[in-house]
């Protein structure tokens, strides 16, 4: 049932995600620095960071429990799973039936719960603040993401990501209004979920505005490395998900190496452009107050629901 080439393709997709994710983060940081007229860090900086962190001793707070030590590994595992089931090069992924688009939202939810709990584990002021805010962002972003997925799933009559990609790639080049709404909502959600500027600032520290950084303040050494790597993987997964949902052209459909080798450079190009756009959007936006975040994400939720309604009201059934 599972072909060898399919399995190899699957393992390659995972390995590619693991390798490429820090590069994507580095690329976004570089673009941001250029746009903000700063001198950019090296493109490979995230890899140096990971290497350094893995070498360092873990400095564990005295009150840390077993959950605190297990959480980075669990979060990392969740993100690897997410990258394994999102079609980036090919839709023929043997692991993909393990989780459809709804379960994918569940994977992100599982990772979020563990990181929020780990943040509360030491019992510092910043930790519980970060955990609380992360759950705040989470409960607003998760339904919005689900609604985006619902819209796409209704168009494709399926929640399986592979089927969605194949259906969308084969339709005519018409801009459905529902897809436009869903696309905007998805952009909003991915900014929030990846701790990007209007919601959170990945470069900030020691500020009362931080969310993600507040949660991982107590982590160090290999634990921190895994969390940073997982964060890169999450950005990569969201980028691939966005590309798969809204720009599905070029993703190989069968497990032939020719299609896949054509898909690889295309993915590179797409991610490069995507990273630049992300940096641009981050630069032209200002970070909002934490209590404006519900408005931001509420807008995303409403847009996603609107997309769904537009789909049902205006667009004839395909």
């Amino acid at each position: 049932m599972i072909s060898l080439t399919g399995l190899l393709g699957q393992l390659f997709a995972i390995a590619l995600a693991l390798m490429l994710a820090p590069l994507l983060t580095g690329w976004v940081n570089q673009c941001r620095a250029w746009l903000q007229n700063r001198s950019a860090p090296p493109l490979l900086q995230p890899y140096y960071m990971l290497h350094k962190l893995f070498h360092k001793d873990v400095v564990l707070a005295e009150g840390a429990s077993s959950l605190f030590r297990a959480a980075p590994f669990i979060v990392f595992g969740c993100m690897v799973l997410a990258c394994a089931i999102i079609p980036s090069l090919s839709t023929d992924l043997p692991f993909a039936p393990a989780a459809d688009a709804l379960a994918l939202v569940g994977v992100f939810g599982l990772a979020r719960i563990f990181i929020a709990l780990a943040a509360m584990d030491i019992g510092t002021a910043f930790g519980s603040l970060g955990g609380r805010r992360e759950m705040l962002v989470g409960f607003l972003a998760e339904p919005a993401l689900l609604m985006v997925i619902f819209t796409m799933a209704m168009i494709a009559q399926s929640t399986s990501l592979a089927t969605i990609v194949e259906t969308l790639a084969h339709r005519e080049m018409i801009i459905y209004p529902s897809i436009a709404f869903a696309g905007i909502a998805f952009t909003f959600v991915s900014f929030a979920e990846n701790a990007r500027v209007p919601v959170d600032n990945p470069a900030t520290h020691l500020e009362l505005t931080m969310i993600h950084e507040a949660m991982i303040l107590e982590y160090s050494g290999r634990h921190l490395a895994l969390i940073e790597w997982a964060a890169s993987l999450k950005l990569y997964a969201y980028s691939c998900l966005g590309l798969a949902l809204f720009f599905p052209w070029g993703i190989a459909e069968r497990d032939n190496f020719l299609a896949m080798s054509a898909a690889l450079p295309l993915l590179f190009v797409k991610l490069t452009i995507g990273g630049m756009l992300l940096a641009l959007l981050e630069t032209i936006n200002a970070k909002v107050r934490i209590f404006r975040v519900p408005e931001f994400l509420g807008t995303a939720f409403l847009l996603a629901v609107l997309g769904l309604l537009v789909r049902l009201l205006l667009e004839t059934r395909v």
Binding site: F54, D57, V59, L60, E62, G63, S65, S66, F73, I74, F76, G77, C78, L81, F95, A98, A99, D100, L102, A103, G106, G109, L110, I113, A116, L117, M120, D121, I122, G123, T124, A125, S128, G131, R132, M135, L136, F139, E142, P143, L146, F150, A153, M154, S158, T159, S160, T163, L206, L217, E218, R222, L226, P294, F301, A304, V305, L308, L312, L313
Partner: protein, 669 residues
């Protein structure tokens, strides 16, 4: 000799539970005997009941007639697939709770252990009889026994004023609900005088009377289940009861109400109107949103769980509403999907909510605190309870790979494939409902992270918590059993749904079995693998493999060194437990965003306060909008009536005389 049928065995089990209860009365001087022998025996019976329920799924319907009852109305009993699901739930979940209770109930607490044992086992037996009853009379007798035995269990610690009040409220609403159920049965007999369920099935009701019966049943069973607006007893009674009793009430008793609603609306009424589905859907959504929002702002751990039960009951009502809606348009495949989600969520919720309630019991015993403001950091002294509670939290938040996710996934799938309903506006309402369900699920995650994080993580908020001890061996066994159920329900959905399918088929004539059986046991694909699939085993395997491989590689390639130091916290070194979020602090964003939903009384400190205090009290709007006006009305009416009661015999004779004259005037032949 006749072979023993499953239904006879179940009757035997109910009898055994009653005998165990009575045996405790005889031995009420020996609490150790009750705890170490009778409760484990009860658990064993529960296990048997669960196994019988499991084997009865898919088997033929069995009936029996008990000689007790009214002279011309003996008890009719019937074991069919619908009952079997709930019997299986009752058996397996109560087995875990009973074994936990064996370790939990100790001497010197509350009333005599013999009495407690009697009430507890009568409660179990009456729930079994509710599920077996096949006529309105037997059903109501069992239903009332269930209500009364649970009332006495709730008021176990009756010396506290608020517990007595909670018990009173529970009894009151339970009886208002019982009246509605009785009336519903009465409507369904439609004057034929045949109170057996078979007789009700045979009646053809007009749409009007059918709707009356359905709405009465929705109200009556809703009062037991905790649907809006008759939910108020739940957050009072659950915290008042001892934890195993809360677990039993929330995990199992609420499901008997769901069973009753399913029995009436899919089996007895014999028709389905589309707007019933919309009503159930709307009530369910309102209940779910209300429950989860109030759960997030609670500061008492058992109250938080009680509100979360309200939320889950709301989700169940949403599923029932969806199934009714599809069923009314003969879209049986989708109805089967929604109904399977309901069954699965019943089982899942019974498992994880009992688990969480029992965990609060262990915390309560270890610390004697129920308020979240006094807890914290218990994962240190109580690792077993903490890690097992985490399973409940993940399942309760509806996250993969545990049980809560499967039912949520099925429910969302049912929503997703709903377009195609004949009314175009229904087509639009349904996705909006799906959005609300998604919001509820995400908020449940918030509430449970708060529950877990504040109780088990962080620094201890009270210095006495250091002496906390982990659960005893029997308690651990009960918790482990329930956690195992949660895991099993999470990773083997395909296999289990194949078994549950018999009940779906019984109610709708169509199930999911063929399409699920086409794929392997590891895969859940209710429609087709190209449309939607979920393989929790592979899901879990990938995460576990990454976790172990990652850990091994990191340790192998680098090192596993660890140093312990004080926490960093951005260099701030006054790190007392009061620097952490309190329970109120954690839910502050919710209170702020959903401010109109709560009735809040807040007191803020001012600059000039010598001893600044901050307090916030969150109350239920409905209490003020609905219950207090009704209570005032009842009070006013009763003062009016007391005017008649002047205490003078002449006046009373006058009343009788006037009544007589009136009757003679009105009731002329």
């Amino acid at each position: 000799m006749m072979p023993l049928l499953a239904i006879d065995l179940l009757l035997l089990a109910a009898g055994l539970w009653a005998v165990i209860g009575l045996a405790g009365l005889l031995a009420s001087r020996q609490p150790r005997l009750i705890a170490r022998v009778l409760f484990p025996l009860g658990a064993l019976v529960g296990l048997g009941v669960g196994l019988i329920g499991l084997t009865a799924l898919g088997a033929n319907t069995q009936t029996a007639v008990l000689a007790i009852g009214l002279p011309d109305l003996p008890f009719h009993l019937r074991l069919d697939n619908l009952a079997a699901i709930f019997i299986l739930l009752l058996g397996f979940v109560s087995a875990g709770i009973s074994i936990y209770a064996a370790g939990y109930f100790r001497d010197g607490e509350g009333p005599s252990p013999g009495l407690l044992n009697l009430e507890y086992h009568l409660f179990l037996a009456s729930m079994l009889m509710v599920l077996l009853a096949d006529d309105a009379y037997a059903f109501m007798v069992a239903w009332e026994t269930m209500a009364l035995s649970s009332f006495f269990l709730v008021t176990t610690n009756h010396r506290h004023e608020e517990i007595r009040q909670a018990g009173y409220l529970y009894l009151l609403i339970a009886h208002i609900g019982a009246i509605a159920i009785l009336l519903s049965f009465g409507v369904m007999t439609s004057g034929s005088g045949d109170y057996s369920f078979a007789g009700m099935r045979a009646q053809a009701l007009s749409p009007f009377w059918g709707s009356v019966a359905f709405l009465l049943a929705l109200f009556g069973f809703g009062a037991k289940a905790g649907l809006l607006p008759v939910h108020v007893w739940l957050p009072e009674a659950h915290p008042a009861a001892p934890s195993p009793v809360s677990a039993l009430m929330s995990g199992v008793m609420l499901k008997t109400a769901i069973y009753g609603l399913l029995r009436v609306s899919f089996d007895l009424v014999g028709m389905t109107l589309w707007w019933w589905g919309v009503v159930a859907l709307a009530v369910g959504l309102a209940t779910a949103l209300f429950g989860v929002l109030y759960a997030t702002v609670q500061s008492d751990m058992k109250r938080l769980l009680a509100y979360s039960s309200i939320e889950n009951i709301g989700l169940l009502a949403v599923g029932i509403g969806l199934a009714l809606l599809f069923h009314s348009y003969q879209m049986e495949a989708l109805a089967a999907l929604a109904l399977t989600a309901v069954f699965y969520h019943c089982l899942a919720h019974a498992g994880f909510k009992s688990l969480l309630f029992l965990c609060t019991g262990s915390v309560l015993h270890a610390t004697s605190h129920r308020s979240l403001g006094k807890l914290g950091g218990l994962i240190g002294p109580m690792p077993w309870v903490a890690w097992l509670a985490l399973a409940g939290v993940i399942a309760g938040a509806g996250l993969p790979p545990l049980s809560g996710f499967v039912s949520e996934w099925l429910l969302l799938q049912a929503f997703l494939f709903s377009p195609g309903l004949p009314h175009s506006w229904l087509n639009m309402v349904v996705p909006v409902a799906a959005a609300a369900v998604a919001l509820v699920a995400a908020l449940a995650g918030f509430a449970l992270v708060k529950f877990y994080g504040i109780i088990f993580l962080g620094q201890m908020r009270d210095p006495g918590l250091k002496e906390a001890h982990d659960a005893g061996p029997l308690e651990k066994l009960g918790l482990l059993w329930l956690a195992a159920l949660t895991l099993l329900l999470g990773v083997l959905p395909g296999t289990l749904i194949l078994r549950l399918d018999a009940a779906t088929r019984q109610l709708l004539g169509k199930g999911l079995a063929e399409r699920i059986a086409e794929n392997g046991w590891w895969m859940l694909a209710p429609i087709s693998p190209a449309q939607a699939s979920y393989e929790p085993m592979i899901f879990l395997a990938i995460i576990a493999a990454t976790l172990l491989l990652g850990r091994w590689l990191v340790h192998r390639l680098y090192h596993g060194r660890v140093r312990r130091t004080p926490a960093w916290d951005c260099g701030y070194h006054f790190q007392g437990p009061r620097a952490q979020d309190t329970a109120e602090g954690f839910s502050q964003p919710i209170r702020r965003i959903f401010e109109p939903m709560f009735r809040m009384t807040r007191h803020f400190p001012t600059i000039r306060d010598r001893a600044p205090t901050y307090s916030v009290k969150v109350e239920d709007h409905l209490w003020y909008w609905l219950y207090l006006p009704i209570a005032r009305l009842v009070n006013a009416l009763s003062t009016l009536i007391t005017r008649l009661q002047g205490g003078r015999i002449a006046a009373y004779l006058m009343y009788s005389f006037v009544t007589l004259i009136l009757l003679l005037l009105v009731a002329r032949p």
